[in-house]
Point group: D3
């Protein structure tokens, strides 16, 4: 992961550990000899793409800095059933106390990377790029957007301040004042930071052309049929970027991509995550 993520992730990890630990692990405390050492391996139980190894590492280093965590693969790497992903070695009590939280991060983030990877694979050879949305888990957005990148996707807006996206509800509010699409784009150009592109959500090919004419930088084709999208691509003729959005699934993403759109946004990448099956296999160490 990039510089700076760690400072930000520490807070999340500590919060997750506090949530799981609260005031003590009564089982470990009662049973495990303080000097018992062991070694564990994180092993994939299905195929997929891994993401979150540095977060898992961070979890263990927050639980007990003396633990040794070693990644055997990089984020974005492909997993088969049985692939050893990482090892953790040191005090058994420490390992057991970090296990669940580390897996909770690792399985979710790998689940996102895996699903993203399937979409990216499905559109391979077309010009379309798979992008995410703001439909992320509250509190985990920056990690989930990272996992999308690990899976080969790209990020759409991270927050409401790093992209101008004029949606139907914005337009409806303006329309109630007698203002149309052109006026909306003019307002955005006049009032919003000049560093941001202006994207407009449209529902028809006509609106798409209207948006282009009004000066949009990107046009989002919302819930259009594949046929409509094809017409929109042709009609716009490369003057602006086109983004397909709404109702995209693994089944239809290829045909969406083949319409010639530049971007395909998929909310399910983050709003419906299936944890990737990864387990920690422990072995005691005897000295």
């Amino acid at each position: 992961m990039e510089i700076g993520w760690k400072r930000k992730a520490e807070e999340l990890v500590d919060h997750a550990l506090a949530e799981d630990w609260a005031w003590g692990d009564v089982t470990t405390q009662a049973l495990i000899p303080p000097d018992a050492e062991g070694k564990g391996s994180f092993v994939a139980k299905s195929t997929g793409v891994v993401a979150g190894l540095e977060v898992a590492h961070l979890v263990f280093s927050r639980v007990d800095p003396s633990l040794k965590f070693k990644s055997l693969i990089h984020d974005g790497g492909k997993l088969q059933h049985g692939t050893r992903i990482a090892t953790i070695e040191g005090k058994v009590g420490s390992i057991l106390q970090g296990e669940r939280v580390a897996l909770n991060f690792l399985q979710r983030l790998s689940g996102i990377a895996t699903e993203t990877g399937r979409y990216v694979e499905a559109v391979r050879g077309t010009k379309a790029r798979i992008v995410d949305t703001r439909k992320t888990t509250p509190g985990l957005r920056f990690l989930e957007k990272y996992a999308v990148r690990a899976g080969g996707g790209q990020n759409h807006r991270v927050h409401l301040g790093d992209g101008i996206l004029i949606k139907d509800n914005h337009l409806a509010a303006l329309r109630a004042r007698g203002l149309g699409l052109k006026a909306a784009i003019d307002l955005a150009r006049k009032n919003a930071p000049h560093t941001l592109k202006i994207e407009v959500e449209v529902a028809t090919v006509e609106e798409a052309n209207e948006a282009v004419a009004a000066g949009a930088d990107i046009v989002m084709l919302d819930n259009m049929s594949v046929e409509e999208m094809r017409r929109a691509v042709k009609s716009v003729g490369g003057r602006v970027m086109l983004e397909a959005s709404g109702g995209v699934t693994l089944e239809n993403v290829r045909s969406v991509a083949e319409t010639g759109v530049d971007l395909i946004s998929v909310g399910a990448l983050t709003h419906s995550v299936k944890a990737l099956d990864i387990s920690l296999e422990m072995e005691p160490l005897t000295h």
Copy 2:
């Protein structure tokens, strides 16, 4: 939700809003007249069980206390395609700035309640209760465990301090010191708080009986076949509670329940959440 949740949820909601808002909503700020008012309805787009209405309410009240949020149904209520769940009324700009975060909470929690409800329905008529696990989203555990209850399930341990659960890795560490199951339970009884029951994870019917003999209060049957579980139930004969765990799906949960176990824990309730499809439908208000 119960007293006290709000104080706890406020922090999560504020964090989620900060994550989405960062420093401003450039689109709304540039386009929406400050005095524009509107009304929105949260509408279910599929069948399910709702959960998180109070959290959605909290989101809007943190965005703008002047917004009026009205629930039309209670958490735990059944949804059909088209069911109106709640309304929100007030400044359009405020509604748009809370929309995504409110939906991110509401859709996830309703997704959990819906899936839990399916499991609960599947075992109806048996004595088995559906319980969750610690495989929750980092940072959202208490809300996710609430959603499980809203869906009719019950909560297993919330954190490592409110239940003694002796798992294979604990036993392995003891075995390396020459100590067995009986010793483990004795250690737990001696060292852990007397307010907590002792649960032991076992893999065979023999171990189950050994655990009962050694004084376990609950025995977790880990990844056993339905046939083995049936034998375990018979053999234990009601002396302790039995919990089925591992590999439970909507397809097989009924047959697991019919073995006579008391509890069935399902990690997927929280580790693989499918957001329930809910949308906010807006209409501008003219005065």
Copy 3:
């Protein structure tokens, strides 16, 4: 102390240091040469049991990581007047800035361990265990509960979620609805997590038997006379754990223990702490 405490204690220690330091130590800053080095010894000024050495260590490491703290005894160890407990060495300015906060933690926690030790000693040879209560200092509960363990006691509930304790006020509220003790226990069994035992507070031998019959796991004998407790123990006959509570002092704890109860809870362990007299004796170092 156990793994995980440090992450939790750091916040407390930093808060305590900020409270004491605020924005600077005007005296040290004005007087002490930055390169002055010294060595100090923490010395007991009375007999007792030590607790909190790792917290004191943490205080100094947060003030100045270059300080060298060395424990000469473990938490739970016995102190005589004059026992050297630990040494601290390094910059005089740093030592002086951590001194008061380190002592404030160490003296309080040792005070708790010492008092707990007296109770444990008083009941030695009986089966009774000394347990604490939730009457702790706001903000310091997990440290104070640790000090009770260091003194040889055991912990009762740490918070309202890790034990079911049905008290008179709960029963009164139910009684206003026409529900009795049996109904209360049934509600607890039905609604509360299955991992927790059910404890019921009773005031008479009859109620004790009623609670046992109704399925309580633990019965708390509240403010009973020694004679009544003896009768309760006899009457219950080992079917459940019995806890003596209320009005227990060092003077009467032995006779309470001799009634045959399993647990004796003592609020004074934490609600009325007498700081153990420990002082830091400094000597300048000359190089």
Copy 4:
């Protein structure tokens, strides 16, 4: 309490509630009907001085803003056995969830005010004022210093930046560089903020005079006998304020005061607090 305390106390109260509540009150949640209402009275079980009523009020308003808390006496007021201190009315579940935390604050702070009041009473008629020290509970300093004032005492330094206090360890560090008392006071005058008085700790009458001659504003007579203090008072002759410190008890404080010192500091006011016995007596309300 003074303006500003509430903003500061809120954090403490929320932390204490989180510590006690964690994620839910399983007993109340399982048993108490959500609409059950009740009324409670806080009643003194011994004589004393009350402090912390506004904190107790704050606790309940953080638990449930709909609760009605009413003080029947002001902080600093005298309590007899049986004095009703305050009432709390509203949902039983809410009251029970705030009870322990409210009492933990109220009993401790009243314990401090009560003990302070005894010292103040003991020196009545002399010119001596009772002051506290920095030997406070980590995290609660500003509340404990408030309780000292409620009991009629005055506050010494709140933190290391609002008073210059040259102690033996400061002098020892300077002495190792060949610098004496005079040099220390000169350094303080030169380097420390001009808004602060300079206090010096001395062990003999001679040192007291030396400190006065060197320009000290206040001289602390550390661990002197009553006879020595009397000589010091006479010798200093009112040129500076004199503070008696060390070994002061309720038994000897009067004779210390009669030596003519201006201030008597008592660490035990805050380092060894005995909680005042206060209980909450509930009655269910029927409508």
Copy 5:
């Protein structure tokens, strides 16, 4: 200010109040009768543009919710010497405790708005817009960027994630790998979010043209002379936005604007703030 700012500003305001208040206002506490009421007026002592009224209001409402704050003008409004800006009424003690912090915010933000207003005025009639930089006071960026808008300016990037700005140091790092400007822009287009424009910093007219040819959306003319900028404007011919940067002062901004650039960024707007002279004039109220 826009929705959402308040939630964000509360933290800043509370931190500023804690910094100023710490544990009490000894002067007010010692002198001011708790029931003394008064009224104060914030009055401009020089000409300028006001900003921060809502922050000042927030300060007082955090100090004491019973205070009545009334703005007499809106942020962005012009001030003359003597203009009454706002009134505050209520307890004298509360007003005095909020005064300094309220003024510290109000004077700084008004200072920024005033200076921005001077630049905006100086370029009136040209097409150039005045924009700020990331040279803001640590911790206050979002408020300072707001003040720039209040003064009529516009915001450049708020943080490193909401704009792509390729500066000399980025190019130097690439050049060390044998990569040039074209490669840099290609990398940005490939790797960075598609919602952001690409701005490139150049030092010569030739580089400006190279950047345009390579596909830059915005070109920053760094530290060029007015004459060079004129040539750059002519040469680029409106194909991309041009931003003048470096060495801009009130004296030369007009001639910079007249070169035809689109944007002029001025670091001094926020890195060298002169507080606007505003004072609080109090009058006691007698009832």
Copy 6:
């Protein structure tokens, strides 16, 4: 800087980095090879006094602990145009991500030290000391007060609890109750901590004498003319410290100092900071 500052500054630095970084640096992430290394020098672009080197160091160590920061001069040191202040070496990406925040701290604090140094220089040879005020940037007070000391000035009150300063508004509130200056000072002596001196703000020579007679420790001559101050100094005759306040500029500070006052407070030191011009000059490293 003194012990303890770092723990306090870390929070500020992390907040400033989060403000600047938010969720990623899209430019660096897109362009800079992860293994690119470089070296930068902080170079003064004008004369002045440096302050904040340790804060700049802290910034880089929070961004990336592997960076090597080396100060070439100490805080308080004199800078000429071209003076190399510090070097930073390591990953280019890390350096670029810390650059702006490090400069934002360093330039501001050096700006304060530089301006303070000018005032101190201007009064050299007189007995007057330059002191600051509470007119600091919200959130940065302790760093700004440190910068004043680095520039050779001294600190006035840091917060409302470490100095008694009776101002006109306090006196006005008392006057409305029929109480005068003498009563005010008596109240302060009776109610405020004995460790603090009492300072009174006066507007005339007569009031100055009245304050001295009433027992003030320090008298602040507020907005007096130089001639009046001279008379006040003569009239008070060294009985108390005198502080000149209000309208002090670099132009008139010498004549103010020559009146014989002990202290001169200058709000502009912190309320109107001009950032010192310092730049980071980078060079790529090739291996």
